[in-house]
Amino acid sequence: MAESQVTRHARGPVTYAIRVFAIGYLLLLVAWPVALVVTHTFDDGLNSLRAVFSDPDTVHALQLSVIAAIVATAINTVFGVGMSLLLVRSEFWGKRLLSALLDLPLSVSPIVVGLALVLVYGGRDGWFGPTLDSWGIQVIFSTPGIILATAFVSLPLVIREVVPTLREIGVEQEQAALSLGASTWQTFWRITLPSIRWAVVYGVVLTLARSLGEFGAVKVVSGNVLGQTRTATLAVEEKYLNFEADVAYAIAFLLASVSVVAIAIVSFLRSRKAYS
């Protein structure tokens, strides 16, 4: 189909003009700047990367980012798969409203996310904060707050991948399994999950990438305490402002590589699936 489209269409000057515009726009806005960050990172060989891994505070920041991202992704995966099943397979009052609200985290400013969490879970005068504090649980300015903020911003990503796939596969196989005596649980593990596994994988990869890179919301809730609640993205800001630009570039390079690899995996899997 794609082949015949091109051969049937004569390529006029307009085609070339639009092509040059698209390439030029992407080159100036994305490709060139990204390439510069990579070259800055390796300006003096591997020294700046070595500096990252020899500074205990920065290593701690990287670890905290990874832990928060993994926990938030685990929560969002379980929540996302469960919620998608409910949205597609059951009927209940307020379903449309819930489905619209689930997209809200993607369009709320990260700073508003942080503020919202502080207002509810803040230890001093949040709605639930003082109670949780008296139970010995500190949320804001601590790791649970970072995890909450991260889970908030990446909440809809699994759902957005899984819901269309669930709709597509239909219910015949599940009903067959149920009518042959399988339990709901068996049907989920043996029939439903295998057919949505790629959608779940995409969702998980996108959630991980988004979680690892969250900055604004984490900045508000973390308090940015050196060696305790500082994440990798906060370390980039601090290192840059403290005139350690090479270290900032190196951490940025690490974060960027993870996210670029993540999207490369997803688009590779997608295109392979599209051709099969």
Partner: protein, 259 residues
């Protein structure tokens, strides 16, 4: 609805409320507790009002740019064919994937003080436009692209063979089919731009009356222990997010009805 799914729904909604709905309501409640006068005073404060105006203006301009450039890029990806096109596909997703603070650093390397192009856009209001354009780049492209792929070329060719010019074919045949996708992409990119923070931190310098945006005003209010003030500006941004959700829902229902 079975008992298991009932319990599941209860747990899921409880978690969603604790994480998202209650905190967001807290923002609105904190604003109303401060009263209308306080809300009005906060958002009409000279510095805040300037930040809000800059944010909205830049978001509108960037959204309009995205409508044109995004549609053009989607067209190139679907209809054009040349070596290296697969690379463009990857480049388009980079702004979504990059952490926002890294996005700021990335832009600084080409448009900062060491710019190889000699363009010094950092610490000026231009930096706000630049950062918004970067982070919102994929929205319109990724909404329009699948719709364009589904479109039947025969209709366009029929129009062309009946003597319609390329422009007429585009306006009368392509545009009506693409319009809902373009609108949805535009709404998402506007919402994203209005709330943007991370990519601006290093790039714009957050200079009052010059390159300071709304989310920076919220953050300074939080840091100055003024939650009511922070909540007032945040409520304004939340209204924008809600509006976008409503627009998207309406557009999607329209498309579903037609398709």
């Amino acid at each position: 609805m079975t008992r298991t799914s009932g319990i599941g729904l209860g747990v899921a909604v409880l978690w969603f409320s604790l994480l998202v709905l209650i905190p967001l309501s807290a923002v609105v409640v904190t604003t109303t507790e401060g009263g209308w006068a306080n809300f009005w005073r906060t958002i009409t404060n000279e510095q805040t009002a300037h930040a809000i105006r800059l944010t909205v203006l830049a978001a509108v301009v960037v959204t309009v740019v995205n409508v044109f450039s995004g549609t053009a890029i989607a067209w190139v990806l679907v209809r054009d064919r040349f070596p290296g096109k697969a690379l463009l596909e990857l480049i388009i997703d980079i702004p979504f994937a990059l952490p926002t603070i890294v996005a700021g650093l990335v832009l600084l390397s080409l448009y900062g003080n060491d710019s190889p192009l000699g363009l010094h856009l950092s610490n000026s209001s231009w930096s706000v436009y630049l950062a918004f354009a970067f982070v919102t780049l994929p929205f319109v492209v990724r909404m329009v692209q699948p719709v364009l792929e589904e479109l039947d070329l025969d209709v366009e060719e029929a129009a062309a063979s009946l003597g319609a010019s390329r422009f007429t074919t585009f306006r009368r045949i392509l545009l009506p089919s693409l319009a809902p996708a373009i609108a949805a992409g535009a709404a998402l990119s506007f919402a994203r731009a209005v709330g943007e923070y991370g990519s601006l931190v290093l790039l714009s310098g957050n200079l009052p009356f010059k390159s300071e945006v709304a989310s920076v005003r919220i953050l300074s209010a939080i840091e100055n222990d003024n939650p009511a003030g922070a909540a007032s500006v945040a409520t304004l941004l939340l209204l924008v997010s809600l509006l976008v959700i409503v627009v998207l829902d309406v557009v999607q229902r329209k498309v579903a009805q037609r398709g």
